[in-house]
């Protein structure tokens, strides 16, 4: 535990020290990267040791002489700590080359400060063990990430995104405050451990409120609307961290609350699994519809949160049904997907960051053919795409496989479990197919084919600091996919910390599953290599000619004729047009010699559409009616304050 605090302090040093070197830009970013990375590495090691060991260290610190800050690191915390420090470590290295404009030194120093604050806050959130500590760290985390989102605040789109994020995270925090407030009111203590003694209806209320609060951080539909705006706005290594790790704190919150409430009702599982299915399917549909590469990745994070929630919901259902195998498969699959998603999503965001940094655009339809000019970025992005589509032999497949296993067992339970499990399986299959379409689209449009615009034509890779983390992450995706047993054992240790009443969970029933994945992947790779050898044998001494792509009889093809991201996705989106309405905009063509025209299309998010009409408009209407209160006369304002004090006093002394 003390190592943990040491590492957090080192990370914070990485945030503060850069301010001393503002005039020496290179030294500044080196200091920032060095301290942050070292701290994270230390944290990573201590988290893995914690996960491997059996002790659950706790620490209490007095704070402002009125509260104590309690921290406790059990297996669940340790698992999330591992994810947080791993990705933060790589993001810190990536940031060294990504933020490379000496003329913006002050802003970059500030960015380093908030970056380190964000890492520290996340690490503390997952170890916090009383209400005050948790909420405090939660708020620091939200604020730090807010300032990172508005890094480029002079772009209007970004400041809007920041505003939206602030609103969502604060409203979410209010829901959390309500949930924890109810907890405090009924138990009379700030201690987390007391939550188990709540009455059952209160538990439902607390869980529902906290689910909204945590869900708005995690990006659960319909509380995800900030995510596709805020994640693209932040610098790419921050997007990687936010999308890969920060939103998982919402998942952590849900699991932690489930653990604390210690009530194994199927209701929680039902809530979580249904939310997961809706989030997953809609997330991937919207991801498919995006034309902005980072927005698309952000929506894909929504989708993966859906998968994680499906897994956790299955686990909760398994617990409620008294089926340890389903419970462990569900929870372990979910936790493993937390790890996996953090690996490939940060990889993809880093790849997208490289593209953005070198071409200056995020619009997919301006790009193309980048794999030839950016071989490392292109191939690691490809690996990330394969992994996120859940294809073997990469890591996404492993977690989805475990979830399927849990789902099928759940389907055999009968009754309402049956319906939910079957729906979960079908949603996972649908999500898998749609994710494949979405990521073949990104790869095909951005990295393959011919450049569609000038920026993509002369792009090149830049900065080993940006390339190395991507290579490491890509390798990690493959390693987890090939040898999942060890990582599943780690996930199962996190499950054991949930106190589901299974004691030490034996690995024996689960090792064969992952061992089979290893064997099957080896079989696949073996056949692949064999056929590759045969192929090169076939090509020995043959004439290989280069020529243009056959244009099907058309003699003057141009790069602009390639299938674009919108056209690739159009027919699939048409199938789902009820949930993803298409907004088109094109002036009518008039006259014999029409003027140049344009066409713009955009997939609309029904959550955003409905929130405007269901919440924003009524609220504006309501507050318009109260506008007479704000008349600009300062004397009356002071009167209001007096009135408020009197009312408060009446309440206190009645």
């Amino acid at each position: 535990m003390s190592y943990l605090f040491l590492s957090v302090s080192i990370v914070l040093c990485g945030g503060i020290l850069p301010f001393l070197f503002i005039r020496q830009f290179n030294r500044m970013r080196a200091v920032a990267a060095f301290f942050t990375a070292t701290g994270c590495l230390l944290g990573l090691v201590s988290a893995v040791l914690l996960l491997a060991g059996n002790d659950q260290p706790t620490i209490s610190v007095g704070f402002l002489s009125s509260f104590t800050l309690d921290f406790k690191a059990d297996g669940l915390s340790a698992f999330f700590l591992m994810v947080i420090f791993l990705i933060s470590f790589l993001a810190a290295i990536y940031g060294y080359h990504y933020l490379d404009k000496p003329e913006r030194a002050v802003r970059i120093a500030a960015s380093h400060l908030f970056f380190s604050l964000l890492i520290a806050a996340m690490a503390l959130v997952v170890t916090a063990y009383n209400i005050i500590t948790f909420l405090l760290c939660w708020e620091i985390m939200s604020l730090a990430s807010f300032f990172l989102v508005v890094h480029d605040h002079e772009i209007e789109e970004n400041s809007k995104a920041g505003y939206l994020y602030a609103v969502y995270s604060q409203v979410g925090a209010l829901f959390l405050l309500a949930a924890f407030g109810i907890m405090y009111a009924s138990t009379g203590t700030l201690d987390f451990a007391a939550a188990a003694s709540l009455s059952e209806p209160t538990k439902i209320l607390v869980f529902a409120l906290a689910f909204v609060g945590f869900g708005s951080k995690a990006g659960v539909f319909p509380f995800h609307a900030w995510l596709p705006h805020a994640h693209p706005a932040a610098p790419s290594h921050i997007s990687a961290l936010m999308s890969g790790v920060m939103i998982k704190t919402g998942v952590y919150g849900i699991v932690r609350l489930y653990h604390l409430l210690a009530w194994h009702t199927p209701l929680f599982g039902q809530i979580v699994i249904i939310a997961g299915m809706i989030t997953g399917i809609l997330g991937v549909i919207y991801a498919l519809g995006q034309q902005d590469i980072k927005r698309m990745l952000a929506y894909s994070s929504v989708e993966n949160i859906g998968i994680i929630l499906i897994a956790l919901g299955l686990g909760m259902i398994g617990v409620a049904a008294g089926q340890p195998l389903i419970a462990v498969l569900g929870f372990a699959g979910g936790f493993l997907h937390v790890l996996n998603h953090s690996l490939f999503k940060s990889l993809l965001f880093m790849g997208a960051g490289m593209v953005l940094h070198q071409t200056g655009t995020r619009a997919m339809d301006q790009l193309g053919g980048l794999i030839k000019r950016m071989p490392v970025t292109g191939s690691t992005f490809l690996i990330g795409s394969l992994a996120i589509a859940g294809l073997p032999p990469f890591n996404g497949f492993v977690s989805e496989f475990l979830i399927y296993m849990g789902g099928f067992r759940g389907a055999a339970l009968g009754k309402s479990y049956f319906v939910l499990s079957v729906l979960a399986i079908i949603s996972l299959a649908l999500i898998g197919g749609l994710a494949l379409a979405a990521f073949t689209k990104v790869n095909g449009v951005v990295f393959q084919g011919e450049p569609r615009g000038v920026p993509a034509q002369n792009a090149a890779e830049h900065g080993s600091g940006m390339l190395v983390p991507m290579v490491i992450l890509a390798a990690a995706c493959l390693i987890v996919g090939l040898f999942p047993t060890f990582f599943m054992a780690l996930a199962i240790r996190a499950v054991a910390a949930l106190n589901l009443g299974y004691g030490r969970i034996p690995l024996a029933p689960f090792v064969p599953l992952t061992a089979n994945i290893t064997r099957a992947a080896a079989l696949f790779l073996g056949v692949l290599v064999l056929l590759w050898i045969l192929r090169s044998f076939c090509y020995r001494g043959k004439t290989i000619t280069q020529a243009g792509t056959w244009g099907c009889g058309f003699t003057r093809p141009t790069a602009r004729m390639q299938y674009t991201s919108s056209s690739f996705a159009a027919s699939i989106l048409n199938f789902f047009s009820t949930v993803a309405p298409l907004k088109e905009e094109h002036p009518a063509i008039k006259g014999r010699f029409p003027a140049p025209t344009h066409y713009h299309s955009q997939i609309q998010d029904i959550a955003e559409l409905q929130i405007t009409s269901l919440i924003v408009r009524p609220v504006i209407f309501l507050f318009d009616k109260l506008r007479w209160l704000q008349h600009g006369e300062i004397h009356m304002y002071i009167g209001y304050i007096l009135l408020a004090i009197v009312v408060a006093l009446v309440f206190v002394f009645q």
Binding site: E400, A437, Q562
Partner: protein
């Protein structure tokens, strides 16, 4: 040893069966048709050629055929051919195989997008679309099979007398599963009425247009992969429509290969008597398979309760 031999025979015969479809179509067209060994001739011809690569392409273009053949071949290794034990089998291999075929699809699409040709992009978009529904259908079927057997492996469903047991418990509703599986076969293998492998207009193709730029041994790999994939799906239907076993393995296997002639024949007849659907009608056709499979699952569960 025996399963390796069977696998080898299956792989060897797959192109022959595909030629049988051509024969049937030629018969309906009043033509003599190509010889039954046509696909072997084509494969040998292709393997002896060199290749022309588009200047737009990258290593992904070469990976496409390789991976699609590999995935199809590996998928075949999990199939219990003729009801005999499959070469490999583990709990959950169905999911692995389905996702492996997804991997093959990913690389086929990637290879098509690599050429920068608008037509290949069009085919790729369609290839990404229709199998989504197919996959959902297959998973619904898996749920049914899982509930009937408690296993998640292909060999547990199609080995020995198990298909017959399916008929006993599920009865006539299993027919819907067979029909649904047939629709999936037509869709996944780019046959009429979803896709017309013999059409001449690139705009209306799905699979053929994606492989336009491949040539030589690469193209041979794609063709071979397609034959394997067709064989993969046909094998299941064959086991389902003729679930009996004769006793001696040789007889079983011989019968299995005979039934396959029938199934490929039905594919050929379907291709001859049906027109290709308009592209926007295809999803409804594929969705029918989902509805049928889900329907069969619901009804069967009502019975085994």
């Amino acid at each position: 040893m025996q399963s390796i031999l069977l696998l080898f025979i299956a792989m060897l015969l797959a192109p022959l069966y595909a030629a049988w479809i051509l024969k049937i179509k030629a018969f309906f067209g009043g033509k003599k048709g190509p010889p039954l060994l046509i696909h072997y001739y084509t494969l040998i011809k292709l393997l002896r050629k060199g290749s022309v690569y588009s200047t737009s392409t990258t290593f992904l273009f070469k990976m496409g055929p390789l991976v699609s053949l590999t995935t199809a071949a590996v998928a075949l290794m999990f199939v219990p051919i003729g009801g005999s034990p499959s070469l490999f089998s583990f709990h959950g291999d169905v999911i692995f195989v389905l996702y492996l075929l997804g991997l093959g699809r990913f690389f086929t699409i990637a290879a098509a997008m690599d050429t920068a040709s608008p037509f290949e992009g069009m085919g790729a978009a369609r290839e990404a679309y229709f199998p989504i529904i197919c996959e959902a259908t297959l998973f619904v079927m898996l749920i049914l099979f899982y509930l009937l057997t408690g296993e998640l492996k292909l060999s547990a469903y199609f080995e020995g007398l198990q298909p017959l047991r399916f008929w006993h418990t599920a009865g006539a509703t299993l027919l819907f599963v067979v029909i649904a599986l047939f629709i999936v076969l037509l869709t996944e293998n780019a046959r009429v009425p979803v896709d017309d492998p013999a059409t001449h207009l690139e705009l209306t193709m799905i699979h053929e247009v994606m492989v336009l730029d491949h040539s030589g041994p690469d193209f041979a790999m794609i063709e071979l992969g397609a034959f394997f994939k067709l064989f993969f799906y046909s094998a299941f239907i064959a086991r389902l429509i003729f679930p009996f076993t004769m006793g001696p393995l040789a007889a079983d296997v011989a019968l299995f290969f005979a039934i396959l002639i029938l199934i490929y024949g039905i594919v050929g007849v379907t291709e001859s008597i049906m027109a290709r659907y308009r592209m926007d009608k295809v999803p409804q056709f594929v969705l029918t398979s989902f509805a049928l499979a889900a329907f069969a699952t619901i009804i069967t569960l009502e019975y085994i309760k």
